[in-house]
Amino acid sequence: MINRIASFGRSGIDLVISFGQAGRFLAGVLSGVPHPATGFPLLMKQLYSVGVLSLAIIVVSGLFIGMVLGLQGYTILSDFGSEAAIGQMIALTLVRELGPVVTALLFAGRAGSALTAEIGLMKATEQLSSMEMMGVDPLRRVIAPRLWAGFIAMPVLAIIFSMVGIWGGMLVGVEWLGVFEGSYWGNMQASVDFWDDVVNGVIKSVVFGFVCAWIAVYQGYDCVPTSAGISSATTKTVVYSSLAVLGLDFVLTAVMFGNF
């Protein structure tokens, strides 16, 4: 019994320590403003691999999720004779919840895991060490552009996801099931508020972008530099990011839409 309490306490302390290390790591990455002439091209390259290359999966998933929402919404709402409210339902679910959350989950699987594996491999092949020995801080040169790229790309991806989803819902609702197009958009415009819904959704995805990118680069930088270590770090990135996104989403939703 005592042993169990002791080991529980130890893992609690370990948790606090790892949060401390991750925080110190973050401070090291963000300290110091990079020189624009060198920093900008590095950021562009990362925005390309983190953002542009994630676009395909985001667009396809957004389209299908919007279409499914259209089908399900129609089935449920037509029982009450209010299938015209389908636009409002699709838009609110996407803009407030599914857009930011699903984008973040896909991002963690597509871009986050790649970031972790890439940084982990750079560590295992001593590329980070040799950079240090050349007097170049890998935190700023390698990690910082990746962190910023994730942070910037996530909201952009989430906005595109929501837009494509709303359009996919229209394809199903209006083009296929015959909801009047005017009421699809009209109901939507009457119930969606730009600041309360759209902007709050964007704020959510900014938070998720920061957290997912932080977890991904930290797991890569902190991994045991072997193949087993890299593979477990990649798994951790996906698991921790998903849990963090879902947990934070609850907190943010309660704060933003809780009305208390």
Partner: protein
């Protein structure tokens, strides 16, 4: 992949994000540059606000002319004080108009309808409706009916 192509692709990516945000603003949330124009605030005191909520609709003859800003309790009269902002171009609501809480459809959302009065003066910023009609409460209707009042 040269730096130039990377820059261009990333630029297009960011532009796509911006376009999507514009779409969400204009087409989805109906934020039009016009409605961002001036509004003025007027008040109404209700005995029972029923199910209206902030951001609800304020309409005249079925046309939306404003939104509900806030609902608070007036501690002196124990009535609910509702603040609503009305579009600036609807500046001729007669001063003796009434604010009525109505329900769209049988089970739909509740909104405030302004039923027009006949006076020449019109409501201005900070004015309060002279007469109001509270939410129709089905429960109360039924109990009134049952007790024969």
């Amino acid at each position: 992949m040269t730096q130039r192509t990377t820059d261009i692709t990333v630029g297009l990516f960011m532009l796509a994000g911006l376009a999507a945000l514009l779409f969400l603003a204009l087409q989805v949330s109906g934020l039009s540059p016009k409605s961002a124009k001036s509004t003025y605030t007027i008040y109404a005191d209700f005995n029972d606000t029923g199910g209206i909520t902030p951001r609800g609709r304020v309409s005249m003859a079925g046309v939306t002319v404003g939104t509900i800003d806030s609902i608070s309790l007036n501690k002196e009269t124990f009535q609910a004080r509702v603040a609503m902002s009305i579009h600036g171009d609807v500046d001729n609501i007669p001063a003796d108009s009434a604010a009525v809480i109505r329900t769209s459809g049988l089970l739909g959302e509740q909104y405030i309808d302004i039923s027009i009065g006949g006076e020449m003066d019109s409501l201005k910023e900070g004015d309060t409706f002279y007469s109001t009609q509270s939410a129709m409460n089905i429960e109360r209707l039924i109990s009134n009916f049952a007790s024969g009042k």
